[in-house]
Amino acid sequence: MREDGSSPHRGGHDEERTTPSTPDADRDGTDGTEPDARFTLANERTFLAWSRTALALVVAGLGVAQLLPPFPGVPWGRSVIATPLILLGAAVSVLSYFEWMANQRSLRHGAPLVRSRLPRILAVTVAVIALLSAAVDLYSRVSRS
């Protein structure tokens, strides 16, 4: 983010605080130094954005299961589409928490941020669910005619 390599603490709006590094502190993510507040805030915003994505996936799943008219001839069709959407929502929610924690730890140690796995997981799973939906719809139309 900063290419001049200067300390992120020069903003002056954030108190630098060093706590002794103990195994306990490492588990809590409280060792290292408190990073620039802006980095912490950006990490929090990213987490919230992923959480809203997770919520949207759950809502999409609920919408398919509750609001969509049933597929003719395919009574399990809606569940087959809705279940992976909801499971993906749960997975995105939990994984975004772990990524937030890993990023927070990296920031405290001045270590490089780990590349997020979430975009790939989201893209691949949504694509698979889209193909699945197309297959269910096609099967319903073919079996009816």
Binding site: E15, R17, L55, V58, A65, Q66, L67, I86
Partner: protein
């Protein structure tokens, strides 16, 4: 910002984030508000269909809104970070509830539009 000579040339006053770090906090406050609104919108819709599930979701949107007002300082970082866990647990519990509703209820007629 020696690495970003171009942008400081374009803007003689310098990086606006350096001038006003409060903008980052404001963006984060807005993100919390957006998250609370997302929960509220879902809660209101579910309230009409299934009040038993909708009411807790609506209550939880108020909880998210109020913890979003919490100002994170280094001294209170631990408590501030608990909010993140709270949101994760809420979305996950909601997902599991949705999963149970989906697997149990096969007979919803759906909306006729």
């Amino acid at each position: 910002m020696t690495g970003e000579g171009e942008s400081s040339k374009a803007s003689p006053v310098g990086d606006i984030e350096e001038l006003d770090p409060g903008l980052a906090r404001q963006r984060t406050d807005l993100a919390w508000t957006r998250s609370a609104i997302s929960f509220a919108a879902l809660g209101i819709v579910v309230l009409k269909i299934r009040p038993v599930v909708g009411a807790p979701v609506l209550i939880f949107s108020a909880v998210i809104w109020s913890v979003g007002r919490f100002v994170r300082t280094p001294e209170r970082a631990d408590r501030a970070d608990l909010r993140v866990l709270l949101v994760t647990v809420a979305v996950t519990v909601l997902a599991l509830t949705a999963l149970v509703l989906t697997l149990l209820g096969h007979n919803s007629p759906g909306l006729r539009l």
